[in-house]
Amino acid sequence: MKTHSIKLSIAQIKPEPSDLKHNLKQHLRYIKTAKKEGSGLVIFPELSLTGYFLKDSIYDVAINLKDESKNIIHDLLPESNNISVIAGFVEVDDDYNFYNSSLCMSGGRILNVHRKVYLPTYGMFEEMRYFKAGNGFNVFGISGITSAILTCEDAWHLSSSYIAVNKGAKLIIINSASPARGIESGSEKFSSIEMWERLLSVIAFYYKSYVIYANRVGFEDGIGFAGGSCIFSPDGNKEYHLEYLDEGLLSAKLNISLLKNERFKTPLLRDENLSLTVKELESIISTKN
């Protein structure tokens, strides 16, 4: 059998808050490099086109995908002719609801839009103040490989990746804007990075998938984003990674056929009892109500 593989790139960029033109230029530059490296997919972090802690400027940078007047998505689409591109932006719908969205474009058209479901609104985060929550975890094909996008906090809810893999996702793409925070005496990493890497390893190993983590870098009002974008293999190991806090591009070829081997040896997904889960969830919901 022909080996099924995909070469992909993660663009660990430094978006400038609310500066769409600047961010678009960065995207174009990285897409060009990813193409040169032979990648079929390039993944940018959460809200890569707009910046993250936008507060009231969310109102100014939002884009309605149905809007025909010129916007940066129109500039980006033609660049996806020979490569799929996943980028983050603020979406506004016809009813003027705002979403923390990530779109995947390919062949000059929009393939999929993921609206972030779990909007952190605690500590330094205030997403629910501005955004409406998305309502599902869609899977879609990238170069024939079933994939799902989870945006940052989405991944912290293990139910999200559970849904995605059971829908057939082999690539779990997690784009994020995760601030570096917390120091520990015994760790060379920020506490937030430690937690992320443990989580990614768990998702990759127990859901027998490739986990691709695209985090951003740069500072917004003193808050530094951690970077450390990486790829975890279905054996739970971190196979490729970028530096913490530095801008960069990572390109890697993933052998999807390896999942056959992994899922045969450890058939957790085969044995997953979805009906049992549904039954239990329904009982939990009825008890809670």
Binding site: L54, A180, E184, G186, F190, F219
Partner: protein, 289 residues
């Protein structure tokens, strides 16, 4: 087990912390359209640490230190400050502030007063505050003259305890050490190759003869930092902190200081009149544009 001790900055985590702090200085200064900084250098460990970080982030040619002794300042302070200047080969000015301070108090505006600030001790505090604000005023003047931003040198311990002068030493454009406790500043200093004498000497605002922080505060930074770590970083209630073995009176003294000094850490209150009020519901990053 929960980690209930103030994390130590050591050889394991120094690398990532140093990278974050120098990255912060570089990016937040460049974003303002400048590449230079000016800071007050006291001869103490905090401003030494900031000088070392700034020189490493921006290059020593882009850092200007200002040493601003008053006639009662310890000559040792100036000497130690000059050691930092010499080691880093940064530009510096020595500006004696005795005349303007003494001139002001010779005339003593406001005349006799029976206010809270009257009397011998009140005068001592007023002179100390005036000195801190005079230094701020000089730094902001030079900031304009040199096209440099003012780097802050207040650490997290002072900021939380309110042990600083509002619009004086607490004022700055950008502060790289405001989230690092004094105990950790000493540890950080050890890895930055700051002269040992500066790291080891007793912390002092040097606003009057023989003043030391710990004598004035009535407790040591080591004690206070552990307690503040639990109260602030861990968000434990004071009674939880004392249940962990810390002196109840000290915990309550420190908690009181943190609460009473909240005003020093915020912008002035604005009476809300309109539909959209600065910093209340007119909400943007400082890095907005």
């Amino acid at each position: 087990m929960l980690h209930n001790n103030l994390p130590e900055i050591n050889s394991t985590n120094f690398g990532i912390i140093n990278k974050l702090l120098t990255g912060f200085i570089k990016e937040e200064i460049l974003r303002a359209g400048l590449n230079k900084v000016v800071l007050g250098l006291s001869g103490g460990v905090d401003s030494a640490v900031v000088s070392y970080l700034a020189a490493s982030a921006l290059g020593n040619k882009n850092v200007t230190a200002v040493l601003m002794p008053y006639k009662t300042s310890s000559p040792k302070s100036l000497e130690d400050g000059l050691k930092v200047v010499g080691a880093l080969r940064i530009k510096h000015f020595v500006i004696d502030i005795s005349r303007q301070i003494d001139d002001y108090f010779a005339k003593d505006a406001g005349g006799d007063s029976d206010g809270a600030g009257a009397g011998e001790n009140g005068l001592k505090v007023r002179i100390g505050n005036k000195m801190a604000r005079e230094r701020m005023s000089i730094l902001y003047d030079l900031s304009y003259k040199l096209g440099s931003l003012v780097l802050g040198t207040s650490n997290k311990s002072e900021l939380l305890l309110g042990y600083g002068t509002i619009y004086g030493d607490m004022a700055s454009a950008v502060n790289p050490i405001g989230d690092i406790y004094k105990t950790q500043i000493h540890q950080l200093a050890g890895f930055l190759n700051i002269p040992k004498l500066i790291v080891k000497k007793a912390p002092s605002a040097d606003l009057w003869i023989d003043q030391t922080d710990e004598k004035e505060l009535g407790f040591t930074y080591k004690e206070a930092d552990n307690i503040m770590f639990l109260l602030v970083d861990k968000m434990y209630k004071p009674e939880t902190v004392s249940s962990l073995g810390y002196d109840e009176n000290l915990v309550s003294l420190i908690y009181g200081k943190i609460k009473r000094s909240q005003y020093k850490r915020r912008m002035p209150l604005i009476a809300k009149v309109s539909q959209r009020t600065i910093n209340i519901d007119f909400r943007y990053l400082r890095d907005w544009a």
